[in-house]
Symmetry: C2
Subunit: 149 residues, 2 copies
DNA sequence: AAAATTTATATCGCGAGCGATATAAATTCT
DNA sequence: AGAATTTATATCGCTCGCGATATAAATTTT
């Protein structure tokens, strides 16, 4: 199939639209936690691995420093985390969850299954979503490699 | 597989990351046209169907009016399109390409195949991408239905 | 026909997301 | 050791994306 300038043919547009629509779907659940979607992603990283430098979050989320720094500043202002210069390397800033930030994980625990239920339908099975995630991760690996190289 | 709070398990994150990385990949090509990625999407719509109300672009791109209106205002300032009130229904604003906007389509013609080449790799075939787009479109339909209903 | 409601678009305010640039600390080079 | 370079994070300015709200025109109700 020859690629054309038609919207439906582009790979980019379905990705872009699906990403936004899913983010919208998260919003009511995240509102209850007082988090935006990108803030939720930062918390996911920290709930898995606490006390990490800013660069670790940048790598995990594939974002830039100039996006992550303001995100962390807002989460710090909300009392979810602290930012402290590292002892060994004063260039690094170590991000650590506060008690409040750790506690929020309990409230968030139900979100993944609630969201999974939202996405399944008569046309989409769990297997479809599994295949989707696999291809997306390969795509991400390809795009990310090219950037680094 | 039980859904958890791990970043890698969430469907949302691969979508979000892939969408952003692909947009980044487009940037150097779109810079040559002087367009941002969302502006490019608007132009794709208009290159397919000219002289449409704002609501048509909103529907096609699954965006909100308050995103599309400023987008159109910027494209108008760039001389790519005009916005005029409809004769039959003065609430509607009809968006039409200018000669300059129509001409840009020629310059954009090579982008789809160039991008397709970027996305293929040893791990991803054209068939994989085809399946990806199909699942994404079903996902979009599911999410969009729920919103409307 | 006047009032109430709906529809189409626009404005406001805020949090992303990112290119370009800045700053400070660590590392490498000479 | 001092200078040059690299690394880690932050700041600035702009566009997007969206919830809340506003405005004006059309439609429906009474």
């Amino acid at each position: 199939m020859e690629p054309t300038l038609k919207l439906a043919d582009q790979i980019c547009f379905p990705l872009y639209a699906a990403s936004r629509l899913i983010t919208r779907k998260y919003t009511p659940y995240l509102d209850q936690l007082g988090l935006s979607y990108p803030q939720y992603l930062v918390m996911l990283v920290l709930w898995e691995t606490d006390q990490v430098p800013v660069s670790f979050i940048v790598q995990q989320l594939l974002l830039n420093t100039n996006t992550v720094t303001p995100l962390l500043q807002r989460l710090e202002a909300m009392g979810m985390l602290t930012r402290k210069k590292s002892r060994e390397d004063e260039r690094k800033v170590i991000v650590s969850l506060t008690a409040k930030g750790r506690k929020l994980k309990e409230q968030a625990a139900t979100i993944p299954s609630e969201m999974a239920a939202c996405l399944l339908s008569k046309d989409i099975t769990a297997a479809d979503l599994g295949a989707l995630v696999q291809t997306l991760n390969q795509l991400i690996a390809t795009l990310n490699e090219e950037e680094a190289g």
